[in-house]
């Protein structure tokens, strides 16, 4: 396949270039023919961050700058980025599959007449693979258009080692503010955090698969069998009211890095798993042998947690620590 130009849309969070931005380079390697991508970083006061990207990646980087781009806004970002992309006849546009990426990608695709393939976890020459049914299956999608917009799952691709050669050039483009049908007013940080999760060495976490609220007590008992432990939960288990939201781990919850993560009845969708990547050991208990969590776990236990956890607690207590 001939080498098509690749454009990466970079992202900052709390002022820093995100890890997901650098992982896009790994994706670009998988789909490209070795050509250097161009990186676009939209935002306010982005020059220093753009220089950092250019230096680390060796890619030509565009600081797409404007006061109105301080916070992400779908219409404003699409407007600014399209002014740059419109002149390109074909190629890849890649974004991280984050609250920015999945919000923005479909609009860019429609405006470019491109195919839109989201939440991609691997790729090759002309095809993209993505998990479906909570990761029980993977589908391979082949775009039928010369332009493709893709979002890349965080953690799915490795960011290449920093370049040792010369850094890429940085160009500043001032984006003009236009009156649009949507404006972002501001960003408020989350209030619902449980600091005990940050400090815990062992986290026992429950998902929808624990079946009912009453089984939370079982998880609490299991957590109590470990010193320095805390209770965690998946988003859906919190939404069901089985756990308070302060226990939530994952994309919209907390990111944790305990020594041991015990996932009980958690399906293992990326939204949860991306919050536990720092865990040293992941053990998962699930009745479904195809549960996606078994792809993230180091040790997999196929058991019904209602019967298994009491036995595990007994064995833990027998060791007499």
């Amino acid at each position: 396949m001939e080498a098509k130009p690749i454009t990466l849309i970079a992202e900052r969070r709390k002022g820093c270039v995100t890890q997901e931005t650098y992982e896009l380079l790994g994706f670009a390697r998988a789909v490209g023919n070795g050509q250097m991508p161009i990186v676009i970083l939209p935002g306010k006061d982005v020059l220093a961050a753009a220089q950092e990207i250019a230096e680390k990646t060796g890619c030509e980087t565009i600081a797409l700058s404007g006061d109105h781009l301080e916070h992400y806004n779908g219409l404003a970002y699409a407007e600014a980025i399209m002014n740059f992309l419109r002149c390109k006849a074909d190629g890849w546009v890649c974004l991280p599959h984050t609250s920015m990426g999945y919000d923005l990608a479909p609009r860019l695709a429609v405006q470019l007449g491109a195919s839109c393939i989201t939440a991609v976890d691997s790729a090759g020459d002309g095809w993209l693979r993505r998990p479906v049914y909570s990761g029980r299956f993977k589908e391979e999608i082949v775009p039928q258009t010369s332009r493709v917009v893709a979002t890349v799952l965080p953690g799915a691709f490795q960011s290449p080692a920093e370049t040792t050669g010369s850094g890429g050039g940085v160009t500043v483009i001032e984006a003009n503010e236009k009156k649009l049908a949507s404006t972002t007013v501001g960003v408020a940080e989350s209030l619902r955090r449980d600091s005990s999760l940050k400090d815990a060495e062992v986290i026992v976490a429950g998902g929808r698969g624990i079946g009912r609220r009453e089984n939370v007590a079982l998880l609490e008992e299991l957590a109590a069998a470990f010193p320095k432990s805390a209770l965690g939960a998946s988003r859906s288990a919190c939404d069901l009211g089985w756990f308070q939201h302060k226990h939530q781990i994952g994309v919209t919850g907390q990111t944790v890095s305990p020594k041991l993560y015990l996932a009980c009845g958690i399906s293992g969708a990326f939204q949860h798993v991306s919050g536990i990547r720092g865990a040293q050991i992941i053990m998962a208990i699930n009745t479904d042998p195809h549960a996606a969590i078994f792809q993230s776990a180091h040790y997999c236990i196929r058991e019904d947690l209602v019967t298994f956890i009491p036995i595990l607690i007994e064995e833990l207590n027998n060791t007499g620590h």
Partner: protein, 258 residues
Amino acid sequence: MRILVCVKQVIDSSESLTLDERTGELSYPSDSAFRMNRFDEFALEEALLIRERLAGSRVDALSVGPERVSSNLHRALGMGADHAIHILHRAEGYISPFSVASLIAACAGPRSYDLIIAGVMAEDTMACQTGQLIAALLDLPCATSVIKEEVRPERAEALVDREIEGGARERVLLELPAVFSVQPGINTPRYPSFSKVMRAQTYKQEVVKAEDLLVPAPREIRRSIRTPDMAAQGVFVEGSPREKARKLVRILHEKSIL
């Protein structure tokens, strides 16, 4: 307010899905149960809450798919939707988010809704695209992952909070008409009584044939679907439950966690 809610039907349990070696497609037992995508239950509930707040509002529910999808719309009517639109698309197998959104946009465009609401994603395809694609196709502003909304019809605007990474919230002001994709947790979807669902089965549904809608050609095809590489899995601890528990405890000792 005229509100359209997109409600997808999904298989009740993905554990009943198997790969058909002959066709290379997913297949399911003929008696498999289907239900409403959980993410879309939150979307419908939010539409109903807006209708309760704003007198004179009307909620249409829309599903795309084969005949079985009408039971999804019964459920939507049972929850309280005023009208059901079934875009009858008989082909089983892969239909891309772009094709689905094109059908919905073609159907919804001329009806001039003030607000279109969808769930943030579908449990089966997990694409997070439909709402945004509809918005882009109809040239409307859009907010995804909406966790709080305040619709102000008198000013033709809506103020919403998007839930973003780490649980932070981005506040966005949108002109109406607009599209929201809502985040689970925004509300608690009502559970319709059995009698309401039964009565809803007698309500008429509007059927729009997919082939009567003018839509662009598909832009992506699915080459294959398969189970993930088993090599990617961790070690399965085997034995009786007691033996498994003992092995786990031993591993925890070896790794100096106990």
